[in-house]
């Protein structure tokens, strides 16, 4: 108990380590599950944020992914299926000083919890929503989810899935997201920095983690993680940089009006002399595009036509809901004075009996 008490606000910046964020509970995911990677990255990130341990709260719904809070030695709530954003919104409004994280799955966030997901995003409330997307319901043992691809055979689609999948990023953008990112579970180079950006974002930060479920949907992202193929299949987004991919950046995205096309980049290794288009013709990634239409376009990219974009789709500034909420209290006090119970009770139209 004593070393726990160390983690008071004063000492936090210097004293916290990754170990401080590991709870005493045995981690109960399947060996090899992609969820472990996120856990490790978050446990690594939090001590760096200069926030006292007690000021973190993790909220989740139900699913393998939603077991996450149990493994963090922070405040945590394993709530009910799909409702984590709503619980977390209440907590954040009540206690805006806390760093509130929602860890969720593709079923939890996008099936049963779809409404709370889009509304949290719409309000731009200060939650960090991390969605472990394994394109399957893991905990209930293998039914298709709203991100399962068409034609996939699962326990509830033995003849092939006919539910068109959501692009989680597109849905978030459609709901007005101010921060949207996508990253592969095992891509440590991207995962840490993106989580750090999300942590720092005011308002709702949404991070989709493409997570491998080795039991029910193994290899869903095999091509994306396979060192041999992945450079051809993924498009790493960097703000202000042209949209390039391929192991030597030899390919890129050019826009004809609003229609994207894949082109070769002139001068890149492997591109024959005289072929390809100039680098300057490629579309340049812009996280801060005010209408988010580039982000939306990228969110539609899917194999086999296009490489899958990874990185930060969008990051724009907008007032956080909890700040606007706090401002209401000021307005109310300005307009009505500080609340006084006695005069409230005696308010309205009174009469006195002597």
């Amino acid at each position: 108990m004593n070393d726990r008490l160390d983690c008071s606000k004063e000492s936090v910046a210097v004293s916290l380590t990754r170990k401080d964020f590991e709870s005493e509970q045995d981690v109960r995911w399947c060996p090899g599950c992609g969820d472990y990677s996120l856990l490790a990255q978050i446990q690594k990130l939090l001590p760096q944020l200069g926030i006292a341990r007690e000021n973190f709260a993790f909220v989740s719904g139900i699913g393998c992914s939603s077991r996450f809070p149990y493994y963090m030695d922070t405040y945590g709530m394993h709530a009910i299926h799909g409702r984590a954003p709503a619980v977390a919104s209440g907590l954040k409004l009540a206690r805006p000083e806390l760093s509130v994280w929602v860890v969720t799955g593709d079923g939890d966030a996008l099936a049963i919890g779809g409404n709370h997901f889009i509304h949290a995003i719409r309000r731009n409330i200060g939650l960090k929503i991390v969605l472990l997307n394994n394109r399957i319901y893991g905990l209930t043992k293998g039914q298709f989810s709203p991100t399962t691809e068409l034609g996939e055979k699962t326990k509830t689609s033995p003849y092939g899935n006919i539910d068109r999948p959501f692009s989680a990023a597109a849905l978030a953008l459609g709901a007005g997201a101010t921060f949207v990112a996508r990253v592969v579970d095992t891509d440590l180079a991207q995962l840490g920095p993106i989580l750090a950006r999300a942590a720092a974002h005011p308002g709702t930060a949404f991070v989709e983690v493409l997570q491998n479920c080795i039991v029910f949907n193994d290899g869903a992202y095999a091509a994306l993680t396979d060192k041999k193929q992945r450079d051809e299949l993924r498009l790493v987004l960097e703000h202000g940089q042209p949209l390039r991919f391929g192991s030597n950046g030899e390919r890129g995205i050019r826009l004809a009006g609003l229609r994207p096309e894949i082109v070769s980049v002139a001068g890149a290794p492997g591109v024959p002399e005289g072929e390809g288009v100039a680098l300057s013709e490629l579309a340049v990634h812009d996280e801060s595009d005010p209408h988010g239409s580039l982000a939306f376009l990228l969110a539609q990219f899917a194999a086999p036509e296009f490489p899958l974009p990874l990185g930060i789709f969008r990051a724009v500034a907008a007032p956080a809901f909890e700040d606007m909420n706090a401002a209401i209290e000021d307005t109310a006090r300005q307009q009505r004075g500080a609340g006084d119970l006695a005069s409230l009770l005696a308010g309205g139209d009174t009469w006195t009996v002597a």
Binding site: E54, G76, R83, G90, A94, T331, G348
Partner: protein
């Protein structure tokens, strides 16, 4: 005042009796009815205010259509407001009206059935146009065909008289016509011999932002009053003496207002910020409106995307240390049940207000009912005990809200507070309590890490309230079964049994601290009427009238429905017959049968309306007569 008086736009002639006199009455019931656009709700509440100021006791009941603005003149567009006032204690807004003020044919048609022969019927004859008569489905004009002969009919062309009074005011015809409710109010104030000065000042204030309306309404009010006086419209006027109640400052309050104020008080008395997560639904929305306006207090209101998010956000806020609430009505309650399971597992304080309305499903959204009691007790999967309390009258909602908060934080539990559409919108006078006299509510967050276990319990079986942000006690909670002490998830069979039992014991234990039940009337004997919630007024009045008629009958009204009070069995055992009047098919009856293993008689009514006193009284009399015959 005699027979059938027909008054057009001129002071009455031959038909008026030569002399006016003052009839003194103990109590009067007035119903104002008109088109939704006729402003009857306003007229009714203004009238109540005048009554209140004079020191009379009163109770009101608004009854409006679920359409926002139904087409003019239709039967379903009729809006009504009933008030009963008396010298002292008034228990209900009254059964049948003694005076019916009907502003158009549709209003007359839909309400006449409840008017006793010989009662006063004041009608705006100007609205009895061919078109309006047709819309209301009248083949001939009832003002002329003699069908109203058995009432004390006073027909006044209020439309025309108002228009005349406002000629030259610069108001358009339509605008002027909207003032006719103030003309009608003027008539009524004259009929009851009330001064209009206070009301004039009020109108001026209410419409201060649109001075020409303020002026016009005052003109109409004066015109109505003046017309009635000058024309000696009423053969007799009525007087209802006021017997001053307990000294103090009074106000008129509706159930929803009182509920909201109760929560503000609970927040202040516990020095704990209030959080309301809610989704609008009739008839609960006004509580949200009220608290949203009071954000100058330590209050956060959050209009969620649905009822599930409403309660879940409140759970998040409760975890964060706020005094958390969610308010709703039947269909919304249904949606909250999964989260009620969660918060029962989390053992966090939370008050859930269900302003019951007529069901099932969407039912009759603007009508009242008490049919959600068993849902409140049993409407969750698993063994999921939650305390349930109910408010009995508009003003009582204040106390009930305080009590709900007290139990929630003391026992670290969700608490369901049941009110209903009947009391939510009805108003009665409320003696404003002295803040210093209100009981503090003790809230303790645990901050001491030594010896801390998330599910260790105090003598009331409550676990500690530790909010995120408290150093040294980071822990995890959730909806899976948890270890008896650590709260970590546990699949252990015995632990589950123990947890199920301790959650049940905690709630059952509340019974131990409830004050002894109070019975009105004889403390043993033939008949005990047991009620809960909004039937209180009707039962109390029926009991009073029965007593006056020489029938000994006792009345027990339950605030606590779960757990039921410990002395209940003993009290019931003292009476031969138990009668349970309920606005459902007999839900408390089931609980009492199960609890006490005895027959109870049920009196049920499921018509979207409160009981009439007469309905309960008739049953009491029948039982009493039956007992005599035995």
């Amino acid at each position: 005042m005699s027979g059938n008086e027909q008054v057009a736009t001129e002071p009455p002639g031959a038909l008026a009796p030569p002399e006016r006199h003052v009839e003194e009455l103990e109590r009067v019931v007035i119903r104002f009815v008109g088109d939704s656009g006729d402003g009857m709700q306003l007229t009714g509440s203004e009238f109540s205010r005048v009554i209140a100021r004079a020191g009379n006791a009163f109770a009101t009941h608004p009854d409006y259509p679920s359409e926002i603005r139904a087409p003019t003149g239709t039967l379903f567009g009729v809006s009504g407001f009933q008030i009963q006032f008396a010298a002292n204690r008034v228990f209900t807004s009254g059964d049948a009206p003694d005076v019916l003020v009907a502003m158009n044919p549709a209003a007359l048609k839909t309400n006449l059935g409840e008017l006793a022969r010989g009662s006063v019927l004041l009608v705006n004859s100007g609205a009895f146009t061919a078109a309006n008569l047709a819309r209301a489905g009248y083949a001939s004009n009832p003002l002329e065909d003699g069908s109203l002969d058995s009432y004390r009919l006073i027909a006044v062309d209020i439309s025309l008289l108002t228009a005349r009074a406002l000629a030259g005011s610069g108001l358009s015809k339509k605008e002027a016509d909207r003032c006719k409710n103030y003309f009608a109010l003027g008539l009524m104030l004259c009929l009851f011999g009330r001064p209009i000065e206070g009301e004039i000042a009020d109108v001026a204030e209410r419409f201060a932002h649109i001075p020409r309306f303020a002026e016009a309404n005052v003109t109409a009010l004066r015109a109505g009053y003046g017309f009635a006086e000058a024309s000696e419209l009423f053969a007799s006027t009525f007087e209802v003496r006021a017997a001053p109640p307990q000294p103090g400052t009074y106000r008129s309050i509706t159930g929803n207002q009182a509920t909201a104020l109760g929560f503000v008080a609970a927040s202040e008395l516990s020095a704990t910020p209030l959080f309301l997560g809610s989704y609008p639904i009739t008839p609960a929305t006004d509580i949200l409106h009220e608290l949203t306006t009071l954000r100058n207090f330590n209050i956060t209101t959050f209009q969620a995307e649905d009822e599930i998010a409403g309660i879940c956000s409140a759970i998040g806020a409760a975890w964060g240390g706020h005094l958390a609430l969610t308010t709703t009505s039947g269909p919304g309650m249904a949606l909250k049940t999964e989260a009620l399971g969660l918060v029962t597992m989390l053992e966090l304080p939370l008050v859930i207000v269900n302003v019951q309305r007529a069901g099932p499903s969407t039912g009759l959204p603007t009508k009242t009912e008490q049919a959600d009691l068993l849902q409140a007790l049993y409407g969750r999967h698993g063994e999921c005990p939650i305390p349930v309390i109910a408010a009995r009258s508009p003003a009582d909602c204040f106390d009930a809200a305080l009590e709900a908060c007290r139990i929630a934080v003391k026992y670290m539990t969700p608490v369901i507070l049941l009110t209903d559409g009947g009391i939510a919108n009805a108003a009665e006078p409320w003696r404003v309590p002295d803040v210093a006299s209100l009981p503090r509510i003790e809230v303790k967050y645990r901050t001491e890490a030594d010896g801390f276990a998330p599910y260790a319990r105090d003598e009331f079986l409550a676990r500690p309230w530790v909010t995120p942000g408290t150093p040294g006690m980071e822990h995890r909670i959730g909806g899976l079964e948890k270890d008896f002490l650590s709260g970590n998830l546990s699949h252990d069979a015995q632990n589950h049994q123990r947890m199920v039992e301790v959650r049940a014991a905690k709630v059952a234990g509340i019974a131990a601290e409830l004050p002894p039940l109070v019975v009105d009337g004889p403390d043993a004997g033939e008949l005990l009427v047991v009620g809960w919630g909004s039937t209180w007024g009707a039962i109390a009045e029926a009991r009073r009238q029965a007593e006056a008629a020489g029938i000994a009958v006792a009345h027990l009204h339950l605030r606590h429905l779960n757990p039921l009070p410990a002395d209940l069995d003993e009290i019931l055992a003292r009476y031969r017959t138990i009668l349970v009047p309920e606005l459902n098919l007999g839900q408390l009856s089931r609980l009492l049968r199960e609890r006490c293993l005895r027959e109870v008689q049920t009196l049920h009514k499921v018509q979207g309306r409160p009981f009439r006193v007469s309905e309960i009284l008739a049953r009491i009399k029948a039982i009493s007569a039956g007992a005599e015959h035995e």
